[in-house]
């Protein structure tokens, strides 16, 4: 069984199965259970689409303190706009203060 799981809608994640990821199809209602299941199965990396992560922010934040699993967001097929990585931006502001990263 693969140590890499990918959670999202079917259209986005289905092709990843061909590459050997474990695909877990989820929607807004059952994403919490599926994410918990993936964590309890000791997956090392969990990719999750940006739309679904909104429903399980708390669970995802809990995993951030531990070395594993690593949760990484990916864009889904459906959203076409540029994603805003709110949590990373917040983290930066907390650590180094605002305005430090904007000068680029």
């Amino acid at each position: 069984m693969s140590q890499i799981a990918i959670i999202g809608d079917k259209e986005t994640i289905f092709p990843f199965q061909a590459i050997g990821f474990e695909t877990l199809i989820a929607d807004a209602e059952n994403v919490k259970e599926i994410f918990k299941k993936a964590v309890s199965q000791k997956k090392l990396i969990i990719f999750i689409t940006e739309e679904l992560v909104l429903f399980i922010e708390k669970e995802v934040n809990n995993t951030m303190k531990k070395p594993y699993p690593i949760v990484t967001l990916i864009p889904s097929v459906l959203d076409s706009e540029e994603s805003s990585r709110e949590d990373i931006v917040k983290l930066i502001e907390k650590v180094v203060g605002p305005n430090l990263m904007k000068e680029e």
Partner: protein
């Protein structure tokens, strides 16, 4: 804060030693904090660059896969997915950034993915699959950087708390204690001096009385 202090020379010495140690530790921790923040910013820059890169290439790959999908029958596509002999094997290593264990990930795609029927698939699929494999490798790199950022942030917070507690609580406390003991000792020596002066006065007076009598 009021400390329980024994106003003796011994404790004065020990407080001076403690103060010196605390100042040394404070300086070291502050240096560590600076270095951590520097590395953190470097990682974040790298992350932002890679993230944008991956997102755009992932969107292109989605489109390619979509093209492949609409040019094939659903059944053929599903067959391709389920019959793929490929396995993604994850290699987990770790490297150290400022003594923090940061995971380093590498994925090995095992098996030949191009082992599907050529007559039932189309050229878009070949293209899309090649893209996917490239992107997956980059995605794992991104994952490890992201984790490193989170771990560094936690360490920075911890170090900052230590620096602050040293700077604003421990060091002022020691300084207060030293000041207090110094004052107490001075006071004691003054009172001893006056006592001595008084006693001497009395002795001199007595002696004079004895001489004249």
């Amino acid at each position: 804060m009021q400390l329980q202090i024994n106003a003796t020379r011994m404790s004065l010495l020990s407080y001076k030693k403690k103060l010196k140690l605390a100042k040394k530790g404070h300086k070291l921790l502050k240096d560590k904090l600076e270095e951590l923040v520097r590395r953190f910013i470097k990682l974040v820059r790298e992350y932002q660059k890679k993230r944008g890169d991956i997102e755009s290439s992932l969107r292109i790959a989605y489109k390619k896969m979509f093209h492949a999908q609409i040019n094939m029958s659903r059944l053929d596509f599903n067959e391709f997915i389920y019959s793929s002999p490929v396995e993604a094997e994850l290699k987990v290593g770790s490297r150290k950034i400022m003594n923090i264990d940061v995971p380093e990930l590498e994925v090995e795609i095992k098996g030949n993915i191009f082992s599907y029927s050529l007559s039932q698939t189309n050229v878009h699929l070949d293209d899309a699959i090649a893209d996917y494999i490239n992107i997956v490798k980059k995605m794992l790199e991104l994952s490890s950087i992201e984790k490193a950022i989170y771990l560094l942030a936690a360490e920075i917070e911890k170090t900052r708390r230590r620096v602050n507690s040293l700077e604003y609580i421990l060091i002022p406390n020691f300084e207060d204690a030293i000041k207090f003991i110094n004052m107490k000792l001075d006071e004691r020596s003054r009172s001893e001096l006056t006592q001595l002066m008084k006693v001497k006065e009395m002795i001199v007076k007595k002696r004079e009385e004895n001489e004249y009598s």
